[in-house]
């Protein structure tokens, strides 16, 4: 494992932290936080996949200025735009899933008066 792999490994570490939170925590809110961490770790990895180091200088944002003739220059120096678009979509999906899961948690709190999954009938373990 070289140093270049380190960011990817860290993204994985975050992923595992999220998984741990979902599996081990008994509080609904903590489970939701774990879910978010999991989601963001996957997004982070996707962005990292799109990162490219150009031959010289730092990579730039993939915005085309100055017409089509500059496209080749941009392709040589910019990061890959596709994973960024994917991550944006994935964040939107994550937003709606989070809204729904929070609404469910609030309803569950109304029913049971607690966020502790150990006290709910079907959510143990």
């Amino acid at each position: 494992m070289t140093l270049a792999m380190a960011p990817y490994m860290l993204a994985f570490l975050i992923f595992v932290v999220g998984l741990y939170a979902i599996v081990a925590k008994r509080n609904l809110i903590k489970v939701i936080v774990g879910l978010l961490i999991l989601d963001y770790a996957a997004n982070l990895l996707l962005v990292l996949v799109g990162y490219r180091t150009p031959a010289e200088g730092a990579p730039v944002a993939p915005i085309l200025v100055g017409g089509a003739e500059k496209a080749a220059d941009l392709a040589a120096s910019a990061v890959d735009p596709l994973p960024q678009a994917l991550v944006l979509t994935s964040i939107v999906i994550g937003l709606s899933v989070t809204a729904l899961v929070v609404a469910l948690a609030i309803r569950l709190h109304e029913k049971y008066g607690t966020f502790d999954t150990g006290l709910m009938r079907n959510l143990k373990g």
């Binding site: 017409g67 939107v92 999906i93 937003l95 709606s96 899933v97 809204a99 109304e110």
Partner: protein
Amino acid sequence: MQGMSPIVKNMTRLVAGFIVLFGVYIVLYGHMTPGGGFAGGVILAGGLALVVLAFGEEFARKALTHEAAKTADSIGAMLFLLIALLGYAGGVFFTNLLPVGEVGKLFSAGIIAPCNIAIGIKVGAGLFGVFVALAVFRRAGAGSSTGMIEG
């Protein structure tokens, strides 16, 4: 929730319009600058949420209702789908019918700008609806709805 102190209310009066304006700007210029429908819509929803937080539940029930948010949400989505279906007039689903124009001008990029507007409406209304459903009407009407679901 009765609204916050007069200081907050006055500041909100001053600022909210600008926040919403900024959201509209981000939506309209989405095809040229970073941002676009989603980011602008989130800012719009943030501005509206600020108003509701400052002026309280009563205001939300009168002026910025959950129902209105739901309707605007559906309208935004339908607008987007309509743009896509209009592509059939040009032969293919979702094809570009508008002139492409010149890169960097406001009226350019074909259907991307109308799409951004539709997404802006959808996301702004949808996110604000989520906020209202989760924050304001929870205590008032348990059992009124399952919450906003579409994102």
